[in-house]
């Protein structure tokens, strides 16, 4: 099958629209801290972003930057654990951090659904795929088993699983990786949620299967009009999927902008590093890769000031308060960047020193 892949529509719309008013999801000052024996792990430390209805936000960042933990906080998956969660998460006008367990439970899976990274471990090995999807439907809909079954077969068919009436009675281990992820997506979509959180939905899959799954997600979004948060560390995946991109580093947002802004005029030295450290198939081959020096920051004793400063090649140039002050990140701006260098100067640095080698 040679066909045109679906693609995210041009991303300029989001810029004109007033960001907050139309937002389906508004995360404000989210903190998730885990007390551990070694100290307090500040996995997410003051994170703010919005997701407008019907749009896709891509969250990127290296492993441990807090992508998964922050998205699990939206679903309230830290409740009942030792995690300390604070801030606000508005879904429409409901603050998901304030409502009771029962009210939140009713929203889980119905208004907000989640697709996880490794579909094999995310599905229960002892129950059939059909049983697990039907369960997701019946918990929010008072329908008979046979009605739920019909609906499940319909969904399996919709996500491209062949022979859904037979497949429904098979166990997860009898599915291939790609089919399992399709089944997960069917489970997430069965209640027609308004927000889908996909946490590295294709990381465990081959590129050929990844292409199928991404295509499926984009197509389903067009059909159902849901908002999507897609979490990944693959910049190619966000380039294909996302209208807006949020870059995270050390539990904080360091840059947010439209896909075009982040890819063509990125503002944060970490984003620059990310873009220039990966080998690219679509550019002339470099003699040598340009890694970001050093290692990811500790979340227990994060570096003072800008968490990126121990690895930042532009710190000296800045002569600003990289070490002493945490640079501000103003989520109200169209393209906020958490860096002490003023925007104008950063732009010059990017154009002169970074862009030529991208």
């Amino acid at each position: 099958m040679i066909g045109r892949a679906h693609h995210a529509p041009s991303s300029t719309v989001a810029l004109d629209a007033p960001r907050d008013e139309s937002a389906l999801l508004r995360v404000e000052g989210l903190k998730v801290h885990f007390p551990t024996e070694d100290g307090l792990v500040k996995a997410v430390d003051g994170l703010s972003y919005t997701v407008p209805a019907g749009r896709t936000l891509g969250i990127v960042g290296e492993s441990g930057s807090g992508k998964s933990v922050s998205s699990q906080a939206i679903m309230g998956l830290h409740r009942g654990s030792r995690a300390q969660v604070s801030g606000n998460i508005f879904f429409d006008s409901t603050d998901l951090l304030q409502i009771g367990d029962e009210q939140l439970r009713r929203m889980r899976g119905r208004d907000i659904a989640m697709v996880f990274q490794d579909p094999l471990s995310a599905l229960h090995p002892y129950y059939t795929v059909g049983n697990q999807i039907m369960e997701a439907y019946r918990v929010h809909h008072n329908v008979s088993k046979s009605a739920a079954r019909t609906r499940t077969i319909e969904m399996l068919d919709r996500v491209g699983i062949p022979n859904p009436d037979k497949r429904i009675d098979q166990y997860p281990h009898e599915f291939s990786g790609g089919m399992r992820q399709r089944a997960m997506i069917a489970m997430a979509l069965i209640n027609d949620p308004r927000l889908i959180i996909a946490d590295e939905p294709t990381t465990a899959l081959d590129v050929t299967v990844q292409a199928q799954i991404l295509e499926l997600l984009v197509g389903l979004q067009e059909e159902f009009g849901s908002s999507i948060i897609i979490i990944t560390h693959d910049l190619g995946v966000v380039a294909e999927m996302a209208h807006e991109i949020l870059v995270m580093y050390g539990g904080k947002a360091v840059e947010r902008g439209s896909a075009d802004e982040v890819f063509y005029t990125p503002g944060h030295p970490y984003t620059w590093g990310l873009l220039s450290s990966m080998p690219r198939m679509d550019r002339a081959r470099l003699e040598r890769l340009r890694p970001i020096a050093g290692n990811p920051p500790s979340l227990i004793n994060p570096p003072s000031g800008c968490a990126f400063h121990p690895r930042c090649p532009f710190m000296d140039e800045a002569k600003y308060h990289c070490v002493s002050q945490v640079p501000v990140f103003n989520p109200e701006l169209p393209h906020p960047v958490r860096c002490a260098i003023p925007e104008g100067e950063r732009h010059v640095i990017f154009e002169q020193k970074v862009k030529p080698s991208l």
Partner: protein, 345 residues
């Protein structure tokens, strides 16, 4: 480093290599059943100092091929010639000597290091196993190696869990390099690492290759990394090499329909280009290596096949396409191989 192939003898010549894993029926009396044909007739040559990239979907036999070449698995059929000498089925002393010349770096930086051994003893293990004492003693040499791969030599007595993923991969590399082998098979050495750390490790592998003149077989599923590091690239599908050529040709002019689909599936980190690109989507999953399809194993999913006439299709279904050179140094195993424009660059 570009291999100087003209007039050069290959360091490794693999001919028609097969690795089948036996299976048994489930009756009261168990008989041998059709085996898992993990590697099914793979041939290639490896030239000193080059890097041969190996790509393909999960389960296509990349790791099995690497292990069989190193004789960590016994080949079912085929021959492996190392420096002009047939070493297939080497045993005892010969095998031990071979192990000093061919090493492996594994994917999983967590699982492949013994958690109860210090870094010093992990990196020094090859000396102990081979009964070799390097000049200046094992400890000194190990610390040199640690320094070389970017680890702090003072961490000689630390345990693997005290290191990050990238650092663990450096430990694995130091261990592989210890005996200065001629060939290292790297099985997904950077797949579990973040982009920035991945770049550090790739650079290290390249530096070490230049310094010691090592030849790599670099197995990975990330096509961008393979393009960066390889001189030549082999594309595998269901136990077979379907296309093999030098890196620039493969990425600029892929001719096997599977390679084309694979390359077009990679999402490019460039939204505008992504918008304009046509994508060849494969349908279905990798067929089982227990009952591979007849003729061309790719015909069940081949986008090209669907555009062929019935007589042409018949050929795909019935006749196994053998690798043939469509141009010098570019071998493709497809009856109807041809160029296409994927608009990647």
């Amino acid at each position: 480093m570009k291999a100087q192939r003209d007039g050069q003898e290959p360091i490794l010549r693999v001919k028609d290599l097969k690795k089948y894993f036996p299976r048994k029926t489930s009756g009261v009396i168990r008989r041998p059943d059709s085996p898992v044909q993990a590697v099914d007739g793979v041939s290639f040559e490896l030239y000193p100092g080059e890097t041969l990239g190996v790509v393909g979907e999960s389960g296509c036999g990349k790791s099995t091929m690497g292990r069989t070449v190193l004789q960590l698995l016994e080949p079912t059929a085929g021959t492996i010639e190392f420096k002009g000498k047939d070493v297939t089925g080497a045993k005892g002393r010969e095998l031990r000597r071979l192990r000093t010349e061919m090493q492996m770096v594994f994917q999983d930086p967590y699982g492949s290091l013994n958690p109860r051994q210090t870094v010093g003893s992990i990196v020094g293990a090859p000396f102990a196993i081979q009964g070799i004492t390097p000049e200046g003693g094992v400890k000194k040499r190990v610390q040199e190696l640690m320094e070389r791969v970017g680890l702090n030599p003072e961490h000689y007595n630390r345990y693997p869990h005290e290191f990050s993923g990238g650092q663990r991969q450096r430990i694995g590399i130091a261990r592989a390099v210890a005996l200065q082998p001629d060939i290292i098979v790297c099985d997904e050495p950077v797949s579990a690492l973040d982009v920035s750390i991945q770049a550090q490790v790739v650079n290290l592998l390249e530096d070490i290759q230049n310094e010691f003149g090592i030849t790599y077989i670099f197995i990975a599923h990330d096509l961008s990394v393979v393009r960066h590091i390889s001189d030549r690239v082999a594309v595998m599908y269901l136990g077979k090499i379907v296309e093999l050529t030098d890196r620039d040709t493969l990425y600029a002019d892929p001719q096997h329909p599977y390679t084309q689909a694979l390359l077009s599936a990679v999402p490019l980190p460039d939204p505008r280009k992504e918008n304009k690109r046509d994508r060849i989507l494969l349908t279905g999953d990798l067929p089982s290596p227990i009952n591979p399809p007849s003729g061309c194993v790719f015909h069940t999913r081949c986008p090209k096949y669907r555009t062929l006439t019935d007589t042409e299709k018949k050929r795909c279904v019935e006749e196994v396409p053998l690798p043939r050179e469509t141009q010098a140094g570019h071998s493709v195993a497809c009856h109807y191989a041809e160029s296409t424009n994927l608009a990647i660059v």
